[in-house]
C-alpha cells in the first residue's frame, strides 16, 4: 500500500527540496528553473508544481550576491527553564535554525530581551544556550535584561551595552536605547517592582525609552571618526523612530539620533522589541524590526510605518506562529535585504530596494488575510 503523507508534510518536504536545489544554483540556473516552473504553471493553469507560490521563491532569491550575511535571534524573554520551558524551546529552535544556515553567517546578532525579568538565572541560561551558536554572537541589551539590577549582571556576562566595530567595510554600532528616566525612587519601588513595571507594555507608569544625553555624546564621538561614505548599520533594541507611545514602541530622543545619522550615505537601523515584521524609511535611514522567538505582538492601533508589509494575525493555538528568526544579507552598497524566517509560515524578504524606492519597487508579497 502506498504510504500517505499529510498535506503539511508534503508541503515542507517540497519546500525543503526546492530551497536545497536553489542553494546550489547560480543566477542563470535559477532563471532557468523559474522559467521552467512558470511554464508548467502556464500549462497547468492555476496549479503550481509546488504547494507554495512561485512568487515567493523569486522573492527569496537575492538580487545580487551579498557582500556578507549575518543572522539574528531576538526577544527570547527567558524565564528559568523549570518555570517556563516554552520560551526555552523557542530559543533552541532559533539556535538550530542559524546553525543550519549554509553558508554560515559572519556573526549572529542577538537583539535584546534575553531574559524576561532580568534575573541572574535567566541571563545565565540565555548565555549558556547562545554558546551553542556556531557563529560568533554579538549582544544587544533590552529593557527586560536591565531594570532589575540596572544592567549589572548583563554587563558581567556580556560587557558594555554600547559599542562599535568595523566589519568588511561596514561600520556597526550597537546602541543602548532603553534607558528610562527615574520613575521608581519617588514611588518607593523595589528593584523587582521596577522590573515588573518596565516588563509591562501597556502601563503609563514607566518613562519612555531614550538613548540619553551620555549615549548621544558617545555616538557623536564615534560617528566623528567615520567617513560619510562608509555604510552604517546601527543596532538598537527599541525602534529609533516614534511608532506608538502608549506601548513604548518609541524612543524619546529618536529625532536627535536621526539628525546625527543624516549626513551618512547609507544607514540601516535594526531593532528588536516590537516582535513583528516592521519596515520604515525616514530620509536616508532604513529601519527593520526583528521577529521575537517568544511571542508575537499585534500591530499598534496607530503610528504603523506605511512601508510595513504586515504579517497576518498569529494563530493563538500555535506556540510558534508569528515568531521566528532571520538573516540579513548585506548588499554591495552596504544596505541590507532582510529575510524574515517566520516559523510555520513561508519566509518573507524585505529588500533595501523596496525601502529606498519608498515602496515602488520590489514590494514583498503580502498576506491577503487581515493583520488585526
Amino acid at each position: 500500500m502506498k504510504h500517505i503523507k499529510s498535506i503539511e508534510t508534503r508541503h515542507h518536504e517540497e519546500r525543503d527540496a526546492f530551497f536545497e536545489g536553489l542553494r546550489r544554483l547560480d543566477r542563470r540556473g535559477f532563471m532557468k528553473l523559474a522559467g521552467l516552473s512558470a511554464g508548467i504553471v502556464a500549462a497547468k493553469g492555476l496549479i503550481t508544481p509546488h504547494s507554495f507560490q512561485l512568487v515567493s521563491v523569486a522573492d527569496a532569491a537575492p538580487s545580487s550576491r551579498p557582500r556578507f550575511t549575518f543572522a539574528y535571534i531576538s526577544d527570547t524573554h527567558l524565564y528559568k527553564k523549570e518555570l517556563n520551558d516554552r520560551f526555552v524551546r523557542s530559543i533552541l529552535r532559533a539556535v538550530d535554525d542559524v546553525n543550519r544556515l549554509d553558508p554560515q553567517p559572519d556573526f549572529v546578532l542577538f537583539g535584546g530581551d534575553l531574559a524576561q525579568l532580568g534575573k541572574k538565572e535567566e541571563l545565565d541560561l540565555g548565555r549558556e544556550i547562545l554558546k551553542s551558536v556556531k557563529a560568533p554572537v554579538r549582544m544587544m541589551v533590552g529593557e527586560h535584561d536591565w531594570f532589575l539590577d540596572m544592567g549589572e549582571h548583563w554587563r558581567t556576562n556580556f560587557g558594555e551595552p554600547q559599542y562599535s566595530f568595523d566589519h568588511k567595510g561596514v561600520h556597526f554600532i550597537t546602541l543602548m536605547s532603553v534607558n528610562e528616566k527615574d520613575f521608581w525612587t519617588e514611588r518607593g519601588m523595589t528593584p523587582e517592582e521596577r522590573m515588573q513595571t518596565v516588563a509591562g507594555l501597556d502601563n503609563g507608569v514607566q518613562s519612555r525609552f531614550e538613548v540619553g544625553a551620555a549615549g548621544r555624546e558617545w555616538l557623536k564621538q564615534d560617528l566623528a571618526r567615520v567617513d560619510k561614505k562608509t555604510p552604517l548599520i546601527i543596532f538598537s533594541h527599541s525602534p529609533l523612530y516614534k511608532y506608538y507611545r502608549p506601548w513604548n514602541f518609541w524612543t524619546e530622543d529618536a529625532d536627535e539620533i536621526q539628525a546625527m545619522l543624516e549626513p551618512f550615505e547609507n544607514v540601516t537601523v535594526i531593532h528588536g522589541h516590537t516582535h513583528q515584521m516592521l519596515s520604515n524609511q525616514i530620509g536616508n535611514i532604513q529601519f527593520h524590526g526583528m521577529l521575537s522567538t517568544a511571542w508575537p505582538w499585534p500591530y499598534a492601533p496607530e503610528g504603523l510605518p506605511s512601508l510595513t508589509v504586515q504579517m497576518n494575525r498569529a494563530d493563538p493555538f500555535s506556540n510558534f506562529d508569528g515568531c521566528g528568526d532571520g538573516r540579513f544579507d548585506v548588499t554591495a552598497e552596504g544596505l541590507v535585504d532582510k529575510l524574515y524566517n517566520l516559523w510555520d509560515r513561508d519566509p518573507v524578504t524585505v529588500r533595501s530596494s523596496y525601502l529606498a524606492s519608498k515602496g515602488k519597487k520590489d514590494r514583498p508579497a503580502a498576506t491577503k488575510l487581515p493583520s488585526y
Partner: protein, 267 residues
C-alpha cells in the same frame, strides 16, 4: 426616595433590618396594651431638625434619632461612615429593647434633611389634566405644556445616580485590568499574564463573540476563549463562568473595545 441619592444610605440597608424589627416589636407591645379590636395609631416620628443644619437620621421605631455631626449633605456619607451610623443606631435601639427579636424584613429608613430635595417632577404632575390619554388626539398632544410628557417615573435618575453607577462599572473594569495583568491571580504556573500577548486587550475582539472558533471546533463565547488562554499559554486552571475574575476580565476587555461595531459571529 432620598435613600437612593446616596451610596452611604444604600449601605444603611442593613439598618432597615433592625429598624422595622424595632417597629414591629413596638407594634406588638402596643397591641398587647390596647383594647382588642382597635388598631393602634401609627407612630408619628417627629424627627428633630439639627440646629447646625447637620443630617439627622431616624429609626422607624418612632423615637430613635441620630445627628451626624459635621455632615450637611447625606450624599456625602460614604460606605464606611454609613456602617458606623447604623452600628450606633443599632446599639442604641438594642439598649432600649433588650428583649427584642427581629425578623428579616425590607429596609425602611426615615431621613430628615435641612433642605429636603425637590421631588422629581413625576411625583407632582397632574396626569389627568395635562397628560396624554387614549382620548387625546395629535393636536391635544402637541398642546402639552413645554412639549414634555408627565407622569413617568422610571428613568428619573439623578446625575449622582449615574455617577455612582459609572464608578462601580469602572471599578469592575479596573479589577479586570488588574487580573488581566497579574499572572498569579490568573493561576499561571509559567508566569504568563494576558497582557503579554494582548497589550491593552488588543487582539481579543470581544465584539466578534459568540463565534465559531475554528480551533475549538465549536461556537465559543469570549469567556470560552479566555479560559482556553488560561489553560494553554497561561497554564492555569480554567475559571468558573461566575468567577469574579472572569466577570472582571470580560468587563475590562469589553471596555477596551467600546465603540467598536458589534459583529458577532465574525471570525
Amino acid at each position: 426616595m432620598n435613600a437612593r441619592k446616596t451610596s452611604g444610605i444604600a449601605a444603611l440597608g442593613a439598618l432597615g433590618l433592625l429598624s422595622l424589627g424595632a417597629a414591629s416589636a413596638k407594634d406588638a407591645s402596643a397591641k398587647d396594651a390596647s383594647t382588642p379590636g382597635t388598631s393602634p395609631a401609627p407612630a408619628t416620628h417627629q424627627v428633630p431638625r439639627s440646629a447646625e443644619g447637620n443630617v439627622v437620621i431616624a429609626l422607624c421605631d418612632g423615637e430613635t434619632t441620630l445627628e451626624v455631626k459635621g455632615v450637611k449633605d447625606p450624599a456625602r456619607i460614604d460606605k464606611k461612615q454609613a456602617q458606623a451610623i447604623s452600628d450606633q443606631l443599632m446599639a442604641e435601639w438594642l439598649r432600649k429593647n433588650p428583649q427584642a427579636n427581629w425578623d428579616p424584613v425590607p429596609p425602611r429608613v426615615a431621613l430628615a434633611q435641612p433642605q429636603p430635595p425637590t421631588p422629581p417632577p413625576a411625583a407632582n404632575a397632574d396626569v389627568k389634566k395635562q397628560g396624554e390619554s387614549a382620548a387625546s388626539d395629535a393636536a391635544g398632544v402637541a398642546k402639552q405644556k413645554g412639549g414634555e410628557q408627565a407622569g413617568h417615573t422610571y428613568g428619573a435618575f439623578s446625575a449622582r445616580d449615574e455617577a455612582l453607577w459609572k464608578a462601580s462599572a469602572e471599578q469592575m473594569v479596573k479589577e479586570g485590568h488588574r487580573v488581566f495583568h497579574d499572572s498569579k491571580e490568573l493561576g499561571s504556573t509559567v508566569a504568563i499574564s494576558c497582557d503579554m500577548c494582548h497589550p491593552d486587550a488588543a487582539n481579543t475582539h470581544p465584539e466578534t463573540y459568540p463565534k465559531y472558533q475554528v480551533q475549538l471546533g465549536r461556537v465559543a463565547l469570549l469567556r470560552d476563549m479566555v479560559n482556553w488562554c488560561i489553560e494553554n499559554p497561561v497554564r492555569g486552571k480554567p475559571l468558573a463562568e461566575d468567577d469574579p475574575r472572569m466577570k472582571a476580565m470580560e468587563a475590562y476587555i469589553l471596555a477596551q473595545r467600546k465603540g467598536v461595531k458589534l459583529e458577532y459571529g465574525k471570525h
